[in-house]
């Protein structure tokens, strides 16, 4: 059974079709990359899954249940986590506190007021801090971190949530080559236990991931396959890789 299934999802903003009859399936444990030129509807696609945008038509099914119409926090609790395009961390909280907020567990006001973190949760936070190398900065406001550190912190927050499905939007934008490689490793590690969907522009990075690729175009799935297959697809070349080859050359 598929973990996530998008069935004919259409999103219309005032007549403009951001997503147009989009169908997509993700199997449990899969690592999937989604690419597409600007305006292909990648972010709207994530918005629909996470409940920020309601599809005009179609259905989103997670673990066999429709999640259309549920609010973001509800969907998140079902096990879908999201990392944003630009790193979004709580600027005035320290990385440790950022992670403590994100770590899996009850999230109601009462739980936060009257409960305290279990030792496993604490260990998990500590572990993640060391994984992303933020132990030294663990206590100062996250607003002071560098861009790369914020990206990593946000990925760590996503992992702390321990979702079944991770939606990762441009995780390596603005990172150095070394950091990019480490991020790829991390995502590969996560796949298997988790299902990971990555949106990225960086073709090198996607190749590194060695994952199946879905190409979006004008809100629609253009084709699916391995990186090599996709790159050789004439339709993809037509709409997209024309510019991509130039980038590769650069």
């Amino acid at each position: 059974m598929n973990l996530l299934e998008l069935q004919g999802v259409t999103v219309s903003f005032d007549g403009f079709l951001a997503l147009n009859d989009l169908n997509l399936q993700l199997a449990p444990g899969e690592l999937r990359a989604v690419i597409g030129p600007n305006g292909a509807g990648k972010t709207t696609f994530l918005d629909v899954i996470t409940g920020k945008v309601k599809p005009t038509r179609g259905d989103v099914v997670f673990r066999g249940r429709s999640i259309v119409g549920r609010s973001e926090h509800h969907i998140s609790r079902l096990g879908i986590g999201r990392k944003f395009q630009t790193p979004r961390v709580y600027q005035n909280l320290s990385p440790r506190r950022n992670l403590e907020l994100a770590v899996r567990g009850p999230h109601g006001p009462a739980a936060l007021l009257f409960g305290s973190l279990s030792s496993e949760q604490r260990d998990r936070v500590q572990h993640l801090l060391s994984v992303v190398g933020l132990e030294r900065q663990a206590q100062q406001p996250a607003g002071g971190l560098s861009h790369g550190q914020k990206q990593w912190l946000e990925i760590a927050m996503l992992v702390a949530q321990d979702p079944e499905l991770l939606l990762v939007d441009e995780p390596v934008a603005g990172l150095t080559d070394e950091e990019t490689a480490r991020t790829a490793d991390l995502l590969k590690q996560l796949a298997g236990d988790h299902t990971v969907l990555v949106i990225e522009h960086d073709m090198e990075f996607i190749r590194d991931l060695q994952a199946p690729v879905t190409v979006l175009h004008e809100g629609h799935v253009l084709c699916e396959g391995s990186m090599d297959q996709v790159q050789n697809d004439p339709r993809v070349i037509e709409v997209y890789l024309g510019s991509e080859t130039q980038e590769d050359a650069a």
Binding site: S71, H73, S76, H107, Q137, Q139
Partner: protein, 384 residues
């Protein structure tokens, strides 16, 4: 000298010392009138704590705290109006409007127990309800501010217009009422009320500290910094905002009740638009996001207001307007924030004494180093 001032320890304890001073020394020194003023300003500090919770921590600027403040005041005043009446008697003002029997919603206020609960529960429930309706629709930012202001006007107009129910513009007097046989307006009673206010202020402060110094507080700050993000992490900000708005409402109610008995009257004027905005400026001047700042701000500004209006009433609006501009443009973190960030040290540095540094010049002043040092000290202190 500069060394002392820029010392972080000093920065931490000095505001506290000021509070202790205010609470302990002044009652002895001050004449009853000034003491009574201080008591009232301290009770305003409680409503300021609430404003700080929702604005300073959670980022929601409510311009309608006067609603809850007045509700608390009215609850207590209604009880006092009924207290020690002979059976069958009505509060005096009813006769002016030809009302013959006590309106039904007055009845429960015969009970002191009910009143004690109502003082904070009614405002909390009203705030919670109003908050829920607004937050549910993700109305925030200036929209929230404007809506709270509109709600304030609704309540103001209602209370102002209902002579027969609640004595309209006149409000309800409390100082000629008696409790335990003692006149509320008497000096002895007012002194007791001052101490009561001090105790409740401390309790409210501790409550807010508890709310803000844990993961709950972190969640509030997270809502302020990036609410949608928190939502995608599985939190329902509506719940948090409703809870914290209700708590702020309850604090406002308690504050209003204390203020009412110390000023002798509750009237719809407590729901006037400017008063509720003033509450924000207390917090802003004191330092939003710091509880002590909210308290200090409320007391300082109100004292200043009282002094200025005695001497030069015409200038108070200029000063107040200037304060709004000042805290927004120059002192965004208020006095306490400025103090904590080493403002005095910087000021002294301007006139010539560079702050004495122990190591490489920039290191002492580097925020990262400071933060680490802080952390070390804290863990050394056993707080972990």
């Amino acid at each position: 000298m500069a060394d002392l001032l820029s010392s972080r320890n000093l920065r931490r304890w000095l505001p506290w010392a000021l509070i202790v001073l205010v609470a302990l020394v002044l009652p002895v020194v001050l004449p009853p009138f000034r003491l009574n003023l201080l008591g009232r300003f301290l009770s305003l500090g409680i409503v300021a704590l609430g404003v700080d919770l929702i604005w300073g921590y959670t980022g929601m600027l409510s311009l309608g705290q006067g609603i809850f403040f007045a509700l608390g005041g009215y609850a207590l005043a209604m009880y006092l109006q009924l207290n020690e009446l002979k059976p069958g008697e009505l509060p005096e003002f009813f006769s002016l409007y030809g009302v013959k029997s006590l309106p039904a919603f007055w009845q429960p206020f015969n009970s002191p127990l009910f009143t004690l609960v109502a003082i904070w529960v009614i405002p909390a429930v009203v705030a919670g309800l109003l908050g829920y309706l607004v937050f549910r629709n993700r109305i925030k930012g200036v929209y929230f501010s404007i809506l709270t202001q509109a709600a304030l006007l609704v309540f103001f107009n209602f209370f102002n217009g209902q002579q027969k129910l609640i004595n309209g513009t006149n409000g309800l007097k409390t100082s000629t009422a008696r409790i335990f046989g003692e006149l509320i307006g008497s000096d002895a009673m007012q002194r007791n009320l001052f101490w009561l206010t001090v105790v409740i202020t401390v309790a409210a402060f501790l409550l807010c500290r508890w709310l803000t110094h844990g993961r709950f507080g972190d969640a509030l700050i997270a809502i302020r910094d990036d609410e949608p993000r928190l939502r995608f992490t599985g939190y329902n900000p509506t719940a948090y905002k409703t809870v914290v708005f209700a708590v702020a409402g309850a604090l406002a109610g308690i504050s209003g009740a204390l203020y009412t008995v110390q000023s002798g009257i509750v009237s719809p004027q407590y729901m006037a638009v400017p008063f509720s905005i003033e509450m924000v400026i207390w917090v802003a001047v004191g330092g939003r996001g710091t509880l002590i700042g909210a308290l200090l701000g409320a007391v300082l500004i109100n004292y200043a207001k009282s002094l200025v209006s005695e001497a030069l009433p015409e200038t108070w609006l200029f000063i107040q307007g200037g304060l709004f501009l000042l805290v927004v443009l120059v002192l965004p973190d208020g006095l306490v924030g400025w103090w904590r960030q080493g403002g005095p040290g910087r000021l002294i540095a301007m006139v010539g004494w560079p702050p004495r540094t122990a190591t490489y010049p920039a290191l002492d002043l580097d925020p990262q180093v400071v933060a680490e040092q802080d952390q070390l000290e804290r863990s050394g202190g056993g707080q972990g």
